[in-house]
């Protein structure tokens, strides 16, 4: 990951002034980490960028915030550094599967089968064979995860490397509670909404993943084929996950639109991710509701396409931010652990 040199120089200038000032040390781990440093190399800047939860407390409290001549806006410059990891153009490209999958399905599957009535176990596979679903999803997901792992490995190495053993529990607590959005005493703008909405969204995605895993076990071990009945474990997990995802997306969107600090260049990737997550949940419910109708084939292809695009966003879009944030929180825990 090579950042733009001018952006890097600007981030270094801002962080140096933050390090000298140190008034924000009570707010979050970012400023404690800045305080432990005297030099800001690219790896350090990337680390601080991913550690920042973008709450805005430091900007509100900053004596040098624009229009001051020093133009200090840490959340903005760190968001710009972060956005280098998922350029908007690349994220838009990930959406290719959303139109492509239904289109290919329409072209390749004979019309009488695509719009025919398919019911009961194995109905989905009449439209998209199990091998296509499994190989397509598996290939994209594993490829994306491999690329993300490489990115996070580089991030870890460039920000100082080291063995994080002993800091893992502290980091897990910070990841689960999003403690850095508490503001350290002055509550962050909409911090409560952001924490709950974000974790609802994460839980929703996990539920949906669990649903797919259970369905896979059913398929291989018990020969229960999808679609499953409404009361079955995969449908219940998937529906619960879908609802949580919709609640989470709505909460995060509400927060973004209500936010006092609107001037943001890096929000394109965020809106795109939220929109796709919302589309995945809505199309999942549409498939569940109309799975016995003639539209099932098209809905299945569309839902499958949104999921493939979502998998791509893991490596090329903002969905991968979770891994970088977790790594940054792990490093922060490592640094503050008493020796």
């Amino acid at each position: 990951m090579h950042s733009d040199e001018t952006l890097l120089a600007e981030a270094r200038r801002v962080l140096t002034i933050c390090a000298v000032c140190d008034y924000c040390s009570g707010f979050c781990e970012v400023f404690r980490a800045i305080g432990r440093r005297t030099d800001f190399l690219q790896g350090d800047i990337n680390y601080l960028a991913h550690l920042c939860h973008d709450c805005g407390n430091c900007l509100d409290a900053c004596q040098y915030a624009p229009p001051h001549v020093f133009q200090i806006d840490p959340p903005q410059v760190l968001a710009e550094v972060r956005s280098q990891f998922w350029p908007p153009a690349q994220a838009w490209l990930c959406l290719v599967f959303v139109p492509l999958t239904p289109l290919l399905t329409y072209l390749l599957v004979p019309t009488e089968i695509l719009f025919g009535h398919h019911r009961g176990a194995g109905a989905f596979y009449a439209i998209l064979p199990w091998s296509v679903l499994c190989l397509g999803a598996g290939f994209v997901l594993l490829g994306s995860l491999a690329s993300l792992c490489l990115g996070v490995f580089r991030f870890w190495r460039d920000s100082g490397g080291g063995n994080p053993r002993g800091a893992i529990l502290m980091a897990i607590r910070d990841i689960l509670t999003l403690r850095n959005l508490e503001g350290g005493g002055i509550s962050c703008e909409h911090g409560w909404v952001r924490r709950w909405a974000h974790q609802a969204l994460v839980a929703g995605v996990c539920f949906c993943f669990a649903s797919t895993s259970v369905a896979t076990i059913y398929h291989h071990s018990l020969a229960y084929l999808a679609p499953h009945p409404y009361q079955s474990v995969p449908v219940l997990l998937g529906s619960g996950g879908g609802v949580l995802m919709m609640i989470g997306c709505a909460g995060l969107w509400w927060e973004k639109l209500r936010r006092h600090r609107r001037k943001r260049i890096s929000t394109a990737a965020e809106h795109l991710l939220l929109a796709l997550l919302m589309t995945v949940s809505v199309s999942g419910f549409a498939l569940l509701i109309w799975r016995d109708s003639k539209m099932m084939g098209v809905l299945l292809a569309f839902h499958f396409g949104t999921v493939l695009s979502l998998f791509l966003l893991i490596c090329a879009g903002k969905l991968g931010h979770g891994a970088y944030r977790a790594a940054a929180l792990l490093r922060a825990a490592m640094e503050r652990r008493p020796r």
Binding site: T16, V20, F27, R32, G35, T38, H68, G184, G185
Partner: protein
């Protein structure tokens, strides 16, 4: 700080209050925006300050720093009324930081610094229904025809005014014209108009409002040279908290009040992080050209001090930076403005830096300006409300 405390107190006492603020909204609150900690006496450990710092010790320190020139009645009042200040500020919504701080028994730190405290006090001001008019500088006030039944002046000691040649670290709106206007109209003066609180700062700082980060530190690991390239003081003599003021005064007393901090490769590592980038040169001769001093004298200075040896060399331009002016209006125990003819103005009050030099003269202790501002702001608010409500 003083104005906000005064407005809140007066409103809580039942008066109708309006604030006339010279600055735009983003620079509101005077020099509170640049503050970090406030000096608070306490008889036992509190959640915001460890240890014990008794009122008597606090009072004694102020008397000493003012070298006997402080107004003892005001100092006594300050010590008594500072006792419940932390609780009062917390009640108004100001949040103190308790973790990730150096040990300080004498001062409490605002979480996020002074601007966060100003934001909290302004939120309180708005919740109480106090009108704030921003960008309304007042340069004159007719004492015989005041715009309200009582007026409280919290317009600072005038450090940003024309009379000061140095870079001003604080707000540019603290220009002192209102106080000058009153002095011309017969108000009694305190402190000293020819003295100021100075620290050594980077000469590349903006003319106003550079705040805390412009300070230059680390002289003891390098050398300080004047415009000729010659050293003018022992860099290792003072290394405690007083070093900032010492260098401010030393540089200001040079014939041309500019100097350069020169470090070698080893010194650069030892020096704390500084806000502006260093000028770098591979040899002392190149460095002499960059900072416009005589190369022979610079080399001789380096040999003499013995700490500047290993290339590459680094330099920071240094100038005196003005923190506070030491000029003041005299006030009585209720902060009513005293006149040279011995009378006091019953309806005109002054609180904050505009009267702080009456207590401190030319001295300064960290966080004391905020204590004076908050305590006398509250006293002024109470007294002005009493007067206005009759």
């Amino acid at each position: 700080m003083a104005g906000l405390c005064a407005a809140i107190t007066a409103r809580q006492a039942g008066a109708t209050v309006g604030i006339v603020e010279a600055s735009p909204q983003y620079m509101r609150g005077g020099n509170l925006r640049h503050a970090r900690n406030i000096r608070l006496p306490h008889e036992g450990p509190t959640h915001y300050s460890p240890g014990i710092y008794r009122g008597a010790e606090f009072e004694q320190e102020i008397i000493e720093i003012a070298e006997g020139a402080g107004d003892l009645e005001l100092i006594r009042t300050l010590a008594v009324r500072a006792a419940d200040l932390a609780c009062w500020l917390a009640d108004q919504g100001v949040v103190f930081q308790t973790d990730h701080l150096p040990y300080s028994r004498r001062t409490a730190f605002f979480l996020g610094g002074g601007k966060a405290a100003a934001n909290a006090l302004y939120a309180r001001v708005h919740a109480l229904g106090i009108d704030v008019a921003y960008e309304c500088p007042m340069t004159e006030l007719d004492m015989l025809d005041l715009p309200a039944r009582a007026v409280i002046l919290c317009s600072g000691a005038g450090q940003a005014g024309q009379g000061h040649a140095f870079i001003n670290r604080g707000t540019p709106f603290n220009c002192g014209s209102l106080a000058d206007n009153l002095i011309r109209a017969g108000a009694e003066t305190g402190g000293r108009s020819d003295a100021a609180h100075l620290v050594a700062i980077d000469a590349r700082s903006p003319p106003h409002d550079g705040g805390i980060v412009t300070r230059i530190d680390g002289m003891e690991v390098g050398m300080m040279v004047d415009q000729n390239g010659q050293r003018f003081a022992d860099e290792t003599e003072v290394t405690g908290p007083r070093r900032f003021t010492r260098w401010g005064q030393l540089v200001a007393s040079l014939p041309i009040p500019k100097a350069t901090l020169v470090l070698d490769a080893e010194g650069r590592i030892k020096v704390p992080v500084l806000a502006f980038p260093a000028m770098a040169a591979s040899t002392l001769d190149v460095m002499a050209g960059m900072i416009d001093v005589d190369a022979t004298l610079l080399r001789r200075s380096a040999e003499e001090c013995g700490r500047v040896k290993t290339a590459p060399f680094f330099a920071y331009p240094v100038a005196p930076g003005l923190t506070f002016a030491c000029h003041a209006l005299r006030v009585d125990r209720s902060t009513r403005v005293k006149m040279r003819d011995g009378t006091v103005r019953e309806n005109l009050f002054a609180a904050g830096a505009i009267m702080a030099a009456c207590l401190l003269n030319t001295g300064y202790l960290s966080g004391i300006a905020l204590t004076i501002s908050a305590v006398f702001g509250r006293i002024a608010g109470e007294a002005a409300a009493r007067h206005a409500l009759g």
